[in-house]
C-alpha cells in the first residue's frame, strides 16, 4: 500500500508543477523547457527556511514559491521586454535551469571561497552555502510531505489556477497566446501580463520543488534535470492547451503509468517524442484542450446555502 501512496504523492507534486507550466504554456502560449530550474530554486529556498530558520512548513513553501517567482524576472524581463518571439524565451529558460543546476552543484566551492571573508554576512553566507552541500545534496530535511499535505496543496493549486485563468488577467494571457499583436492593439500590456503568468508558473514550480524536498528529506541538483522539464511539458502538451483538468489527468497518467510498468522504461521518452508529434498534428488541443473546469455546480450550491446573488459566468 505504501508504494501506491508514494506514487500518489509523486503525481501530486508533478501536478502542482504541471499546473504552473499549463498556465505559462497552455494559457499564455510561452514555450518553456526549463521549469526544473524554478523547482530547484523553490525547493532549496523552502528547505533553507525550514532547516536553518525553522520557519513553519506551509509558510516556507510559500516563500520558496515566491523566491522562484521573483527569480523568474531574471529571464522574463529581458526576453519579454525585447518583444522577441517565443523562441528566445524557450532557449533562455533552458539556459536558466542549466545555470541554476550548475550554481547549486557548486555551493560547497562557493562557500569555501567565501570562508575567509571578513564581514559577518560573508561568514553567514559561506556557512549556509557549505551546508547546502553542492552536489552532495542538502541532507536530512524534515520528511513532512505526506499524502494529505499533497492532496490539500493540489486542491489549493487547482482552485487558485482556475481563479486566475478565469480572471481578467488570465483571459488577457489567453488573448496573448492566440494573437499577440491584436491583444496589444486592444490594450493588453504584453510585458506585464507575461511576467505575471511567468511569476505564477514559477511560484507553482517552486512550491512543487519544496514538496519534493520535504518528501525525499533530501535535495540535490540531480533531482532537477532537463528530463524533469520535458516531463512537465509532456503533461501539458498531452493534457491540453488552455485547460487545467487536462494536465491534471495526464500528470497522473505520465507519472503513475511508467512507475507501474517499469519494465519498458527506456521506451518512455521515445513514446513521448512520437506522441508529441502526433498530438500536435491530429489533436493540437491535446486530450482535454479548451475544456474548462465547470464549477458552476459549486456556484449553485453556494447560492442555495447562502442565497446570495452570485451567478457564475455562463460558460455555455
Amino acid at each position: 500500500m505504501g508504494y501506491l501512496i508514494a506514487i500518489v504523492i509523486l503525481c501530486g507534486i508533478n501536478i502542482v508543477a504541471a499546473l504552473g507550466v499549463a498556465i505559462l504554456t497552455g494559457y499564455t502560449g510561452l514555450f518553456t523547457i526549463g521549469h526544473a530550474g524554478f523547482m530547484a530554486l523553490g525547493g532549496y529556498m523552502s528547505a533553507i527556511m525550514v532547516k536553518e530558520l525553522n520557519v513553519p512548513y506551509p509558510l516556507a513553501l510559500l516563500i520558496g514559491g515566491a523566491f522562484a517567482g521573483i527569480c523568474s524576472f531574471i529571464i522574463g524581463y529581458p526576453a519579454f521586454r525585447s518583444r522577441l518571439r517565443g523562441d528566445y524565451f524557450a532557449i533562455a529558460t533552458l539556459g536558466f535551469s542549466e545555470a541554476i543546476r550548475l550554481l547549486l552543484n557548486n555551493t560547497r566551492g562557493l562557500g569555501q571561497s567565501l570562508q575567509d571573508s571578513t564581514s559577518s554576512f560573508g561568514q553567514g553566507a559561506s556557512s549556509l552555502l557549505i551546508k547546502l552541500g553542492g552536489a552532495f545534496g542538502y541532507m536530512n530535511l524534515p520528511n513532512v510531505t505526506n499524502v494529505w499535505v499533497v492532496v490539500v496543496t493540489v486542491a489549493l493549486a487547482m482552485f487558485f489556477a482556475h481563479m486566475y485563468v478565469t480572471s481578467q488577467y488570465g483571459k488577457n494571457s489567453i488573448a496573448i497566446s492566440q494573437d499577440e499583436v491584436a491583444a496589444e492593439m486592444m490594450g493588453v500590456n504584453l510585458l506585464k501580463t507575461k511576467l505575471i503568468s511567468l511569476f505564477i508558473s514559477a511560484f507553482y514550480a517552486g512550491v512543487a520543488g519544496g514538496l519534493l524536498g520535504f518528501y525525499f528529506a533530501y535535495l540535490s541538483p540531480s533531482l532537477f534535470t532537463i528530463t524533469k522539464s520535458s516531463d512537465l511539458l509532456a503533461a501539458v502538451v498531452f493534457g491540453g492547451i488552455q485547460s487545467l483538468i487536462g494536465p491534471f489527468i495526464t500528470a497522473f497518467v505520465l507519472i503513475g503509468v511508467p512507475e507501474l510498468l517499469r519494465t519498458f522504461a527506456e521506451w518512455r521518452l521515445i513514446i513521448y517524442g512520437f506522441l508529441f508529434v502526433i498530438v500536435m498534428i491530429f489533436r493540437p488541443q491535446g486530450l482535454l484542450g479548451y475544456v474548462e473546469m465547470n464549477f458552476s455546480f459549486l456556484g449553485r450550491w453556494w447560492n442555495a446555502i447562502f442565497r446570495r446573488k452570485h451567478t457564475p459566468s455562463q460558460k455555455g
Partner: protein, 266 residues
Amino acid sequence: MSEEILSIKNLTVDFGGVRAVNDVSLSLRKGEFIGLIGPNGAGKTTIFNLITNAFQPTSGEIIFKGQSILGKSPDQICRLGISRTFQNIRLFPQMTAYENVELGLHSTPRYSLAEAFIRTPRAARIEAETRKRAHELLEMVNLSQHANARASSLPYGLQRRLELARAMATSPELLLLDEPAAGMNEDECKELVQLIRQIHNTMGYTMIMIEHHMNVVMDLCRDSLIYVLNLGSLLAVGSPAEIQNNPDVIRAYLGERKNGRDNAHA
C-alpha cells in the same frame, strides 16, 4: 465644431528604399467622420499602423489630444483612446464572440491581481458590469445570438461586426476602421453603413474609415471630408462631391484614359 483631437504633421516613413508615406498632414476635430481612400498600396493601412504605433515613422508628428504619441506602445495608445479594426481580421480564433468583446473591456484589468485569486465582492461586481457591458455591445452590432459561437466559426460579415464591437469595447475616442466593408455584397454594405452611422451618432466617436466601396464612403462621409492618398502622398481633400469630380483622383484611380472619356463613375 469642437476642438482638434488628432493632428498629423508631415508624416513620412521609409521601408528600406520604398517611401510608403510621404509628408502626409491631416487634422481631425472631435466627433468628425472622415474617409481615407486611394488605390492599393497608397499607404492607407500604413498610416493606421503609424497611428497605433505598430512601427515608428521616419519623420513627422502625430499629436492626439495635444500630446505626441510617437514613443508610446500600442497598448498605451489604446488606453489613450485610439482603437482599430484590421484589414485582415485578427479576432481571437478560439475565443467565443462574447470573450472577444469582453477582452476589449478588461485588456487593462480593473481589479488587482490579489482580487483575481480571491474574487472579492468588488471584483465580482466589476465582472458583472463587464458582462453586462459586453452583452450590450454585442446587442449594438446585433450579434447577441452568436455570443457563444467561436469567433473562427462565424461567417465573414459577422466577424467584421464582431471586430467593430471589440474595438468599441476599449471605449475609444478615435476609432480607425480598416476596410470594414471588404468582401461584402450590396445589401450587406447598406446594413453596415446604417450600423456605422448609428454607432457614430450614438457614441460620438471620431472615426477614420479606409474603404474601397465608393458608395459606402460617399454615403457615410456625406457631410464631412474625404482624404485621397496616392503613392504615399496626399492627392486631394474635399467633400464627396468634389472628390468624385476631381480629375487627379480619377486619373489616379482609373489610370490614363487612352480615348479621353472623362469622369467615368467608379
